[in-house]
């Protein structure tokens, strides 16, 4: 992002704030520059990384054990336990959570996190705790994710937190250990890409459709080396829950991070949450946050435009998130791809997915509908899905699993009676966690089972060995559970009026 500015300029910008206003900067550049502890040297390929300070480090049980092991072996401690928080999410069961975890390997990984948190003094929200849940749902709902912060986690979907105007990205286990020991990370500057979405979304078209369309447009490698900034009237109109859905899947376009400039919607969301600034701190924070949006005239390294008016519900047909089409479209014909790699990937995907080129997407019958994951398991996701299924009947051959993103979301949903709506419909109302997004717990697809999933990855075997995944929005998931085939809410209205006429 500061690719065009030399590290010397970065240091100068940080040191002399007033002069900084002369050069228009992007949101990402501002956050980056405000966290440079030691600037790198040189330029281009020879450039050494900047050392960046990390404001918030979130952890879960999967990518942390080997990092703690490394600390222990080197005789190091956690520098800032007070900027670190952990939850259990990937391995946790979503049924009978008061029972011991049946899988001994999962149980051991969870116990290892508990032991490590105890030994190093780290706050942990364990299974059964009201704040337990998916890391990327828990941070924002506690008010710990705020604009202008650097947020990291040993999890690629850390990009979720960028919805607040934070610079948030996934890191590997070695980096987890590095942050634990130093509260900083050596990082090479990223380039910036503006993704501008103008217009108004049609009824039944959501944030999930925006991001799936973006990924199909730029490809799974299109964002590589970039921080994406989502802009434009369609993004501004979105709630925080919806912005998180979009930023969450930035990684699926190959980008390290995705961001949305903070605005009144952001401030409104944070205000009053447990870790929100209070009193004078709140005023100072809002003043700083308000200075973060990209300056007029700031240059991005790349720009992409999307017309929100034209968007339709978007779904995937293949085995990477870039293999998506409009729901009203047909399964692509591999021979129509010019790029031989894309053609080969499409052929392989159709075979794995057991689909015929040219068949309408809406003819695809599913076995399972999964509503959950760090992409779409927040209260708004549950509400919009519940609004569609309420008073309607589930297709008898479809099983639907609803997994709230956190124990808190579950409680809030129950306070609104959403659990009743799902249960009356015949869906399973589960406890919080990552669940069937990646099937590290017992929630997995069987070989050959086909799933309409609100999660983020349709890789081979992602939801269970041999399982077939179609990525969809919560409203498409709900409509699909009713009709048994990939469907949008507008298909329901159409088929119901047909019934009435008959």
């Amino acid at each position: 992002m500061v690719a065009k500015a030399s590290p010397e300029n970065v240091a100068a910008t940080v040191a002399t704030a007033p002069a900084a206003e002369a050069v228009p900067r992007t949101l990402a550049e501002k956050v980056w520059q405000d966290h440079v502890v030691v600037p790198g040297n040189g330029a281009g390929d020879a450039q050494t990384p900047d050392l960046l300070y990390i404001d918030l480090h979130i952890m879960h049980e999967v990518t942390s054990p080997q990092a703690f092991e490394g600390l222990r072996l080197a005789g190091r401690t956690v520098r800032r336990p007070d900027l670190t928080i952990a939850t259990e999410d990937h391995n946790t069961p979503t049924l009978e959570i008061d029972q011991p975890i049946a899988d001994p390997v999962s149980a051991k990984q969870i116990q290892t996190l508990r032991d490590n948190a105890q030994e190093f003094g780290i706050r942990l929200h364990s299974l059964g705790d009201a704040e337990q849940g998916i890391v990327h749902v828990v941070g924002p709902q506690l008010g710990l994710t705020q604009p202008g912060m650097t947020v990291v986690c040993g999890d690629s979907h850390t990009s979720t937190h960028g919805a607040f105007g934070a610079l948030a990205f996934g890191i590997g286990t070695s980096e987890v250990e590095h942050v634990l020991a130093t509260q900083s990370l050596p990082l090479k500057p990223f380039k910036t890409m503006a993704i501008t979405v103008e217009g108004t979304l049609r009824e039944g078209v959501t944030a999930k459709d925006i991001i799936l369309a973006v990924i199909a447009k730029i490809g799974t490698g299109g964002g590589q080396g970039y921080v994406l900034e989502y802009r434009g009237s369609a993004i501004r109109a979105l709630s925080m829950d919806a912005r998180m859905t979009i930023c969450n899947m930035s990684i699926e376009a190959g980008a390290r991070a995705g961001m949305v400039a903070p605005d009144e919607t952001t401030f409104e969301y944070i205000k009053g949450r447990p870790h929100a600034p209070q009193g004078e701190d709140w005023d100072a924070a809002v003043e700083y946050w308000s200075s973060l949006p990209t300056d007029e005239g700031a240059a991005f390294d790349a720009e992409v435009f999307l017309d929100a008016d034209e968007l339709e519900p978007f779904v995937t047909w293949g085995t990477n998130p870039g293999q998506g089409v409009s729901l009203s479209d047909t399964v692509p014909v591999p021979e129509h791809f010019d790029d031989p790699n894309a053609r080969a990937a499409a052929e392989r995907a159709l075979e794995y997915m057991d689909l015929t080129a040219g068949m309408p997407m809406k003819d695809i019958r599913v076995d399972t509908v999964f509503l959950g994951s760090c992409t779409n398991s927040r209260l708004e996701d549950l509400r919009t899905a519940a609004a569609i299924i309420e008073g309607r009947t589930k297709d008898e051959n479809v099983r639907m699993i609803v997994v709230p993103g956190s124990a808190r979301v579950r409680l809030e949903a129950e306070a609104e009676g959403l659990d009743r709506v799902f249960k009356d419909f015949g869906a399973e109302w589960r406890f919080a966690g990552c669940s069937m997004c990646l099937g590290m717990n017992p929630d997995q697809l069987a070989p050959g089972e086909r799933c309409a999933s609100t999660s983020n990855r349709n890789f081979e075997g992602r939801q269970g060995k041999g399982g077939r995944t179609h990525l969809v929005s919560p409203v498409v998931a709900a409509a699909t559970a009713i009709r048994g085939t990939l469907s949008s809410p507008s298909d329901l209205a159409a088929s119901e009026s047909e019934l009435q006429e008959a």
Partner: protein
């Protein structure tokens, strides 16, 4: 970390694009709490097929993986790098790597070297026509040699320096601990802390 100067070993053509980390190591293997012993987990799904390249001699003894573009996409799991290393790979060649995977590789001494796709295809051809061909990767000169074919590869200078020196990142950063302490003193009061814990 052991210094990396040059490496010679059997090349393995993996003729696929978008090899994501869920394929390199499926999630079920992420439940372990150690850093080693992941060799059985590498490409576990694909290795069930006896025809899969790593199940065939002499590729099963390979140490230079030659893959299609966009290698290592998806999940941030560093286990992907551990599994490749534990199996015996020292180098992965691809036209394009996912950012997190490339970063993880550099930290673990696995060289992720960027080679143009047309050159990758020439190397694939050589490795298929002459199975067991040795590939030499010279980090000093940034060249890769396979049979009579030779070409350059890209790796950034900083990663190259650390690989050659075998340097540990944390040790390097701790040399600037005073700067970190100074930076911490300048952080605004409104920045949140996780402790003491506050809940709704």
């Amino acid at each position: 970390m052991e210094p990396f100067i040059t490496h010679t070993g059997i090349g393995v053509p993996l003729k696929q694009s978008n090899v994501d980390t869920d394929q390199i190591i499926p999630a079920v293997y992420l439940k372990r709490i150690t850093r080693t012993g992941f060799e059985d987990a590498l490409f576990a799904g694909w290795r069930k097929d006896p025809e899969f390249i790593l199940n065939r001699e002499p590729y099963s003894a390979g140490s230079v993986l030659v893959a299609g573009p966009d290698f290592g996409t998806g999940s941030s799991r560093e286990h992907a790098v551990w599994a490749l290393k534990d199996f015996g790979f020292k180098v992965v060649l691809s036209a394009r790597f996912a950012d997190i995977f490339r970063g993880n590789s550099g930290k673990q001494g696995l060289l992720a070297a960027e080679v143009d796709q047309q050159d990758i295809e020439l190397i694939w051809k050589e490795l298929e026509n002459h199975p067991g061909t040795q590939v030499t990767v010279d980090l000093e000169g940034r060249t890769v040699t396979c049979g009579s074919f030779s070409t350059g590869f890209q790796v950034d200078d900083y990663t190259r320096w650390r690989l050659r020196e075998g340097l540990d990142d944390i040790g390097l950063t701790l040399r600037t601990e005073q700067e970190i302490t100074d930076f911490e003193a300048s952080r605004p009061a409104y920045k949140p802390a996780t402790l003491p814990a506050r809940t709704a």
